[in-house]
Amino acid sequence: MPLFGKKDKKKENPAQQVKTVLSQNETSYFGKNLIIKGRVSGNGDIIILGGLEGEFDLRGRVKIAQPAKIKGEVKADVISVNGNVEGKLAAKQRLHLDQTARIEGEISTPRLSITEGASFNGEVTMSGRVTKESGAAAVGAKPAHQKEGAPEPRQK
């Protein structure tokens, strides 16, 4: 007969608890083999290397890395693109197209940067209302963009 105390001890593996706590604030990561059809929403940062057909609606940063292929709409605070996008990109704060980005569609953002080498066919709307939110965020945001031309380190 197991003792009660013993059972309680066994209940949770502390290592797993720690892991969970860590992953709460972790960046979501969609690997290059993952194909998602549908809608992704919520808070937090996302790095996507796989395929998405549908909609991203996120409060946080989205990084669309090189092998990624996206068809649909992406809305987020900050968007950084290295991959392929067909559809709409809407950033509330800023949007960056890196060397390897290939975009076909519409972009709307208050602040835009495009690195030489990026391919962009479409239309840009720069929303004039750079709100307090985006101003404050720009200050508090990560130490600026990567320098133009320098590919982001997380690649490959």
């Binding site: 990561y29 690997g31 083999n33 809608r39």
Partner: protein, 139 residues
Amino acid sequence: MQKVKTADSTSLVSQNVRIEGEIQGPENLHVEGYIKGAVALSGNIFVGNTGIVEADLEAKSIIIQGEVTGNVKAHQQLEIHPSGKLIGDCTAGSIDIKEGAVFEGRSMMIKKREASAMPHLQTSKGSGKHHQTKEKTKP
């Protein structure tokens, strides 16, 4: 970056992220957020403590620590931890349900060899209770 059949990378859906739709591909998936729809992977699925899944799952092995509502198919192993909850039918090569886990539904085992030779095995039903891993037919 060549294409590999086996799942070599693990995707993470963190706590505040929701996915509604279909997910597929040769990947491992770690869910701490919310998923609704269907997930079919050739890798493993790990539903963490904060993970809530309302979807049919199919994968090589599935480990549940959070909540899953839907039908689950694990080609190798299904594991439900004490904090885990599975509402729905499961099909698995082997099952490991820890004390404290919640499982409501039917359970069917995948026979390694005679799955096709003895189709009547597939029809066995467990009403509310799960089968033991070692379920065997009469000699």
